[in-house]
Subunit: 406 residues, 2 copies
């Protein structure tokens, strides 16, 4: 007997017919003798509608009342799934976040789960009942409704799995697992059987987006084995686990990319202390997230260029912020380019293997692709290249690191 | 300074624009220096959709989970009104039924409010904040969500007014008050300034339907002054009050009618004990509500006819139930007629005035209208007549009792 948490997103519970499919999956897991807790999102579109109403009601809604409104959709789906399971003869009941309760901090609209009281759930599971819990929400220290921010249901599921010491947390989604690369671009991409939390975090922030970053972080912290799998097909997905659960670790687990990048170069600034602060201060004030940063070696010891990337949506705002600070920064020229893509090779194995970055640079050079910016972390090497080379680069790297399916 | 409870139904909060109108009304009451608590329904159509989903999910849904689903709509409207009021600079907050809490019995889908804990609300009102509460729902003794049945928001409002010792409970609706008769039929009908709870109860069950019967009963029990008024026009409505609050009591307050009636005559049954039980037992078993009943005086002391009315929707089921019991009842013939209307004159004044019924019978006779069945209560005389005479009878009686507007 195992204890499983299953999480289904908005598309999976989009209408009663789909909720019946969810119920069938839950029933199968319960019939196998497992204890099952289910975390649900609202029906697809519901939360968007609720958010739209709050915006129509006021441009800057009171976040406490915003949370009251936008948390309503999950109450509908948990009740409906309980009804359908009851009809199938599977003992089940819904639990609202205040009935358990799921306690969060008081940061409305972006709250963090602090504790989940599982006493009632444990009793339910022990009695053979399926427990159904709303994702995305909780209650604050002063007893008000909170929400976790968009996509928060993944986090709810992993937090519940941690609180219940579950053997596994299955996240049902519209992809069937995590691939070595985007299969729409690289036909030879393979589905990974396992991936580490760290690799998943690097992939997610690179645009793989199959699993909320905070959910992965929470899984890593509490050692929750997370499975990403398809709601619509019945095939095993990808397990996200601790590094020591992966026996034969490949050096590289995948190649990620993000087109959502814009490059800005502040040319010929004085090579002296305080210049970087003069550039990045205004960007921080404008809440613009700067990713890669390089500063060229100064040729004459007096002037240098500073290049960095920002999300494409913040491109114009970043340029405006720099221009407004021109006097303080004292630059000669501002260059920018949104036709860039960030390509990353990711793998915990590179910690113990030399030459990973070198292979990347050589592979790209062989294809005549110029590297504009480089940044590295312990388990990732990222380069910025011209966007038109995206497909060529991904396929070449996928082969070069031996990731191609046979 | 007064303490007012305002209740707005689904049409009044049907979209953000209408919620702004509600907010303007709340703001005006608060700006006049009053303490204001607001009870809201879900947006028009929302609860119907939720009910439809539960039916699609299972023909007989677990009532505990049914309540989880169908209670979700009010959470949306209370939050949205709080947001709009905040935008207007009116301090306000929403309270869910579990935050207060509103305690009900455990009769899911038709629960009764037992207590409302007003400590938190009192503090809010004292601090000048508008308190916004969901109608139609509460929590059961074991902490699950309950609902009060359709239209239960009126009851929630009156219960809250009672718990808060409010000076008045304003029920905003799509009519602007209670009339002496249906103004669509009787052009000279007048809006009543005041009506007693008893008269309101008799009118409501006769199809006036401006206020939930249970809400009126609760108002009567706790002496809550209820005002029925229009959401869309800014004119005084009708006050529903204790009899001693009405100084110049008219004998008759109004003429009500109900077309939702069908007459059934069980002809030539034995005139002996047990026959009535043989007829009405099967109807009670079939959950059919019998209204008027008359038994003719037996001519020969051996056989008699029994006539009664049932709601038109139960007409065929009632006939079927009687036919199935034919052997036990032993009747000669079964007659039935759905083309009937029940017309009632209502007024607490008739307790102390003779001749009220006589005037009704004479008026109808003068117009050549045959009375098929008569039933009376302390404050009401009802007759069953052919449906085609409805308008004629209502106008004639309205004049005969001196109710016509000048």
């Amino acid at each position: 007997m195992a204890r499983i948490v299953q999480k289904f997103g908005g598309t999976s519970v989009g209408d009663i017919e789909r909720i019946r499919n969810v119920a069938a999956r839950v029933q199968r897991e319960a019939a196998a003798g497992n204890e099952v807790a289910v975390v649900l999102s609202a029906m697809a579109g519901t939360t968007d509608q609720l958010v739209a109403w709050t915006r129509e009601a006021a441009p800057a809604a009171d976040p406490r009342e915003y949370d009251v409104v936008v948390s309503a959709g999950e109450q509908v789906t948990i009740g409906l799934l309980a009804i359908v399971l009851g009809e199938l003869g599977v003992p089940a009941r819904s639990w609202t976040s205040w009935q358990l309760p799921i306690r969060t901090d008081g940061a409305h609209a972006k709250a963090r789960i602090e504790t989940i009281d599982t006493a009632a759930l444990e009793a339910d599971l022990a009695a053979g009942r399926v427990a159904i819990v709303p994702g995305f929400q909780g209650i604050s220290p002063d007893g008000r409704i909170t929400t976790l921010g968009r996509g928060g249901s993944d986090t709810s599921a992993v937090a519940l799995a941690a609180a219940l010491n579950a053997d596994r947390c299955d996240i049902f989604t519209d992809v069937d697992g995590v691939y070595t690369c985007d299969p729409r671009i690289v036909a030879k991409a393979r589905k990974l059987e396992r991936i580490t939390y760290e690799e998943m975090l690097e992939s997610a922030s690179q645009g793989a987006k199959v699993l909320q970053t905070r959910a992965v972080e929470m899984g890593m912290k509490h050692h929750v084995r997370i499975q990403v799998l398809s709601s619509f097909e019945d095939v095993p997905g990808t397990l996200v686990v601790d590094e020591d659960e992966i026996v034969e670790q490949e050096i590289i687990s995948g190649i990620a990319y993000s087109r959502d990048e814009a490059k800005i170069t502040v040319a010929r600034v004085a090579d002296k202390p305080g210049v970087a602060a003069a550039i990045f201060g205004p960007l921080a004030d404008a809440m613009i997230n700067v990713d890669m940063i390089v500063q060229n070696v100064s040729e004459d010891g007096e002037e240098t260029d500073i290049t960095f990337t920002v999300p494409e949506g913040d491109h114009q705002r970043a340029i405006d912020a720099i221009k407004r600070s021109r006097d303080a920064i004292g630059y000669a020229r501002l260059d920018h380019d949104a036709n860039v893509v960030k390509v990353s090779v990711i793998g915990v194995g590179m910690r113990s293997h030399a030459g990973v970055a070198q292979r990347m640079f050589r592979t790209l050079a062989e294809k005549g692709i110029n590297i504009q910016v480089i940044s590295t972390s312990e388990i990732k090497v990222s380069v910025l290249i011209a966007e038109e080379y995206t497909e060529l680069a991904l396929r070449a790297l996928h082969s070069a690191y031996g990731l191609d399916a046979m």
